[in-house]
């Protein structure tokens, strides 16, 4: 589903590349933790998958597409197959829960009847049924992240990228979010989650890819956060 072949990414302003000759393969339906300290290249990895950045070397393949050869007008088509969730939720404060999720479908031109059918479904999936009319500031942090996940998942993407989705949440709420992501993963969606949350990673026992200084230093099935086990 996601394949990196000797991928490097160097930024003009710094000498050291953010990613250095990284090769990795993530299959359809996998759940992968991307761990590593700040500046290790996790965000660059996610941005390359989204084609927000171009690799300076190597090939990036996502959902069967060679991103280096993907015409810019086809990038939106790629992004429709990828959902993204962030640490800071990025909800629209003036829109209700329903409208926030519907927004993702409106802007890609889905007809009204599709929106009216799918949005309640996905809100139920994330456990927010009954809160459709609330504004983001009337929700807890965990609930806001559920809205963000609903928005990322409402178009049933093949891949869900999560960049520190529990970074702003307390441990109990974080576990709830993790369970939700696990449930989404069980529908066949590939999930790549960048995180610093050691407890969560240890608890879930999923594949762990550890980045350090732009290199993959560990790729372990059913791994834990630290390099020990």
């Amino acid at each position: 589903m996601i394949r990196f072949d000797n991928v490097s990414k160097a930024y003009k302003t710094t000498q050291r590349p953010a990613l250095d000759e990284v090769s990795i393969n993530i299959d359809r339906g996998e759940f992968v933790f991307l761990v590593g300290s700040s500046g290790s290249g996790k965000s660059t990895f996610l941005r390359l998958v989204l084609k927000e950045e171009r690799a300076t070397g190597g090939d990036v393949h996502v959902a069967g597409r060679d991103l280096a050869r993907l015409a810019s007008w086809k990038v939106p088509g790629l992004r429709r197959q990828i959902g993204v969730v962030f640490q800071d939720f990025r909800l629209l404060p003036t829109k209700s829960v329903f409208e926030n999720v519907a927004f993702a479908l409106q802007v890609i031109g889905k007809p009204r009847h599709v929106i009216e059918r799918t949005v309640p479904e996905v809100l139920q999936l994330v456990g927010l049924d009954g809160k459709e009319g609330r504004r983001p500031d009337e929700l807890s942090g965990g609930e806001q992240q559920r809205v963000a996940i609903a928005r990322a998942f409402v178009n049933r993407p093949a891949i869900l990228l999560a960049d520190e989705p529990t970074g702003n949440l307390d441990p109990v709420t974080s576990i709830g979010i993790m369970k939700l992501l696990d449930r989404i993963n069980k529908t066949g969606t590939t999930i790549v989650m960048a995180t610093h949350d050691q407890d969560l990673v240890d608890q879930m026992r999923k594949r762990v890819i550890q980045l350090d200084d732009g290199h993959i230093v560990r790729d372990q099935a059913r791994g834990v956060y630290g390099s020990g086990a």
Partner: protein, 304 residues
């Protein structure tokens, strides 16, 4: 869904940026008003040129009792001198150039004068005797009026040969200058309008970076993301064009039609139909400039 959604986004954008929207409307309105004035001026000059071209004459004023030109040393023009002039006008040398000519007596000159300056105090001070007799010569080709002017200038009994084309050259010079002024002025204002549209779009893009960021991530097309911003600029410019058109209509309807057309009936004037002919151009220009300004701005400040 799409149309309603885009319309809603545009409405929000225009409203959030209300003061900027108003300034775009005003600057586009004023600049397009001057641009339209330039176009109408052009039409008026064309009308005037066409009219005078068809009516242009060489006026040959004959010596009166008080004339002090050297060619009038013999006193008032005699019947023989007039007969000689008429013979020359009809003769083989000049007849190919002369379309027609007519003689204007002192009384006819006076009647015309009174009609032209009706209601003015100057009429009281002029008597029939003060006005000269004249020949009015219309040329086959007005450009060749020099021939007649040269032929009769300085002849005994002819006080002065006047080519109206020469007189009008000054007027046309002035009108052309005024038209250029209107266009240069309009050009400067249009440049300001373009920059203002660009700034407004930039501000709007910044205000809505959250929305556009999400649109980008969920895979909205570039066109769909940029369309509301472009429409904002285009709608504001269109309102400006509308105001400019109404302004021109009011100027023509309120000044030229009731005042110039009735008071100074010397030449034909532009009317409202000319305004309607110019209006589509104003809309087109406004929309084009706003569209181009937003496109360039979005290219720079709204990465997709």
């Amino acid at each position: 869904m799409r149309v309603a959604f885009v319309a809603n986004e545009v409405g929000i954008g225009l409203w959030r940026n209300f003061s900027m929207t108003i300034s775009v409307v005003i600057v586009t309105a004023v600049s397009l008003f001057f641009f339209g004035s330039g176009l109408l001026f052009q039409r008026q000059v064309d009308l005037l040129e066409e009219y005078t071209y068809n009516n242009i004459e060489v006026s040959m004023f004959l010596c009166g009792a008080q004339s002090d030109e050297p060619s009038c040393a013999g006193g008032e023009v005699t019947a023989e001198q007039k007969a000689a002039i008429e013979a020359d006008l009809a003769g083989p040398e000049l007849s190919p150039y002369v379309e027609e000519w007519l003689f204007e007596s002192k009384q006819e000159a006076y009647d015309r004068f009174v009609q032209q300056f009706e209601g003015s105090a100057i009429v009281e001070s002029v008597t029939v005797d003060l006005l000269p007799e004249s020949y009015r010569v219309r040329m086959v080709d007005p450009q060749e009026s020099d021939v007649v002017v040269a032929y009769f200038s300085g002849r005994a009994g002819v006080e002065q040969v006047e080519d109206q084309q020469q007189l009008l050259a000054g007027l046309f010079g002035f009108l052309n200058g005024a038209r250029w002024f209107a266009w240069v002025f309009a050009g400067v204002l249009l440049a300001a309008a373009v920059l203002l549209v660009a700034t407004t779009i930039r501000l709007a893009a910044f205000n809505r970076r959250r929305e556009t960021g999400i649109m980008r991530l969920v895979g909205a097309s570039k066109f769909f993301i940029q369309l509301p911003f472009m429409l904002e600029g285009i709608i504001a410019a269109s309102i400006g064009a509308l105001i400019a058109s109404l302004g021109l209509l009011a100027a023509v309807q309120g000044v030229i039609v009731p005042y110039l057309q009735r008071q100074i009936r010397v030449t034909p004037y532009i009317d409202t139909s000319d305004v309607f002919a110019v209006t589509p151009g104003l809309f087109l220009l406004g929309i084009l400039l706003a569209g181009i300004a937003s496109l360039i701005t979005l290219q720079r400040y709204l990465k997709v």
